[in-house]
Symmetry: C2
Subunit: 319 residues, 2 copies
């Protein structure tokens, strides 16, 4: 144990980062890192482990020739950390498997590591192991992250109830426009701060698109529905910018583009009001709608009209 | 099993996730399986977690057109379980990420699952999560397995001392000949039985070749050496068979072929004698040599001559 647990809830971003680090260090989680058949990690007492894995492929989740290996490393770790954030967990350790194009294997491995290292450092994640291969195919990277739950417990997708408020942590849409899809900012601190401030009922990170990802919450919560207020959904400037060059409205982009990596959070309505009135830093939340008992996802326009939303989020298997 | 198998074949990503989820059954460690941002696993009291990851690529670790997806699933899980065996651990949970060739994505996913399921079932491993993608590239599969240590603790590569005996759990060489490289039989039970019967000093699974993998133990144990007795190394019939068709001796195959997935075990000499006289079932061990204080790996021939062994095991990055 290098530092005592902070008895007080963290108040700012940097103290929260410190707090996260101390959570991870408290268990001296990494007993054995790279260099054996397995890594060995030691759980903190009374904590469960969160496990998540994401694989990224050249031409699908990134374009190596345009984006470069550093962006690949950053994104690959970032999307996994975003999944830990979506459960209100504290990331602890990661293992990284790569298939590197043979011709530049070593340089690519170094570039990928350079992309992962700052994120890993920032959030106190130990890179404890991996599997490094070279081949004639395109670059593939697969990361698995282990995280710990806090005393508040994990936040699942399945806890939404009718009447709950639906929040998001930032503006949505158009992530491809400015390359934000390569720079996921995992909302780990935001998730922990929010979960500390109020019991979150359900949460997901927006990777496939708001409509699609909110749909997962509604489905996992027993087949519920929701009404979203068109005017309340925060739209990213990138969505407006993209809208100029295609036939889709900014709102359409905000609802259906993926890879924003903001959080979609479901809480009791009173808690929502409190979180909006007194945002637990560094989290900022926007109330965008309400959970309904009846299935179906609806958009309420300014004049009160309800329009059915059909999620067109990313289908990993068929697109 | 909480639900019957889906009578219809799944047609899209989400129905495939449903289908896989129904195949998975919740074990004691699995708090939450497939279907959220992360899986949740609960550690046993006083147990550390082992974490290992291995990625397999078409054309490199298997040939999909010849071997088929079921063999790919079996091998991908088997090699990871072999790493858990090499630490004398108990496998608990696995996450599986795949990049599937688009044209046959669903059928391939089902075939891969059919290959993993019997191994997972046999060793009580829960398939708790994954990431399923399709693309225009070749098949890639990456599995991460979590395992628990036993009360005896994990067996690392680094605990060999001069004078220790070197054992292997089975005959070596020629695994490519009969397709054994596709059917790794993880020596999990053998490792646990051996570690229960005697304090194992060091262990590794033979994936790159005996000379190469023993070399890892010697290096990690502080730069030791070893003498292997040529006549004592158990040679697989496949090695002899391969030897008929190439210019290499059966012993050369036994020393340098990879993917036998037997264990190389280092123990005190008295313990070695005991393990050989009274093998702890189901383990069977062969004493093949002795650890030396001076670096270097040597083969002792029947007439007592010492020949330097230069490991030619599989180089993952450059072959």
């Amino acid at each position: 144990m290098t530092a005592p647990l902070n008895p007080r809830p963290p108040t700012g971003e940097f103290s929260l980062i410190d707090w996260i680090r101390r959570q991870a260090k408290a268990g001296q989680s990494t007993v054995l890192g790279i260099g054996d058949d397995c890594a060995i990690v030691r759980p903190s007492p009374d904590s469960d482990w969160l496990v998540t894995t994401d694989m990224l492929m050249d031409g699908r989740h990134f374009r190596l020739d345009q984006d470069g290996p550093e962006a690949v490393g950053f994104k690959a770790l970032g999307v996994n950390l975003s999944d830990i954030a979506a459960m209100a967990g504290v990331p602890v350790a990661a293992v990284v498997a790569v298939a590197l194009p043979k011709a530049h294997a070593v340089a690519l491995a170094q570039g990928i590591h350079a992309g992962m290292a700052p994120l890993a450092e920032r959030f106190g994640v130990d890179l404890v192991g991996g599997d490094t291969n070279a081949w004639d195919g395109p670059l593939v990277i697969s990361i698995t992250v282990l995280g710990e739950t806090t005393a508040r417990g994990p936040v699942r997708r399945s806890g939404a109830v009718p009447g709950d408020a639906i929040l998001v942590t930032g503006p949505l849409g158009g992530s491809l426009k400015s390359g934000r899809h390569l720079r996921p900012q995992p909302r780990l601190l935001e998730a922990l701060a929010l979960h500390q401030a109020a019991p979150l009922h359900a949460m997901i990170d927006i990777s496939d698109g708001l409509a699609s990802d909110l749909g997962h919450i509604l489905e996992e919560s027993g087949g519920l529905g929701a009404i979203l207020d068109a005017d309340a959904i925060p739209i990213h400037p990138d969505a407006a910018s993209l809208s100029d060059s295609d036939a889709r409205s900014p709102l359409d982009h905000a609802l259906n583009d993926g890879e924003d990596f903001e959080l979609c959070v479901v809480v009791a309505p009173d808690d929502a009001s409190r979180l909006i009135a007194t945002p637990p830093r560094p989290a900022v939340v926007h109330r965008i709608g309400q959970v309904q008992g009846e299935p179906g996802l609806w958009l309420r326009t300014r004049d009160g009209q309800l329009i059915a939303i059909h999620a067109r989020g990313f289908d990993h298997l068929h697109q």
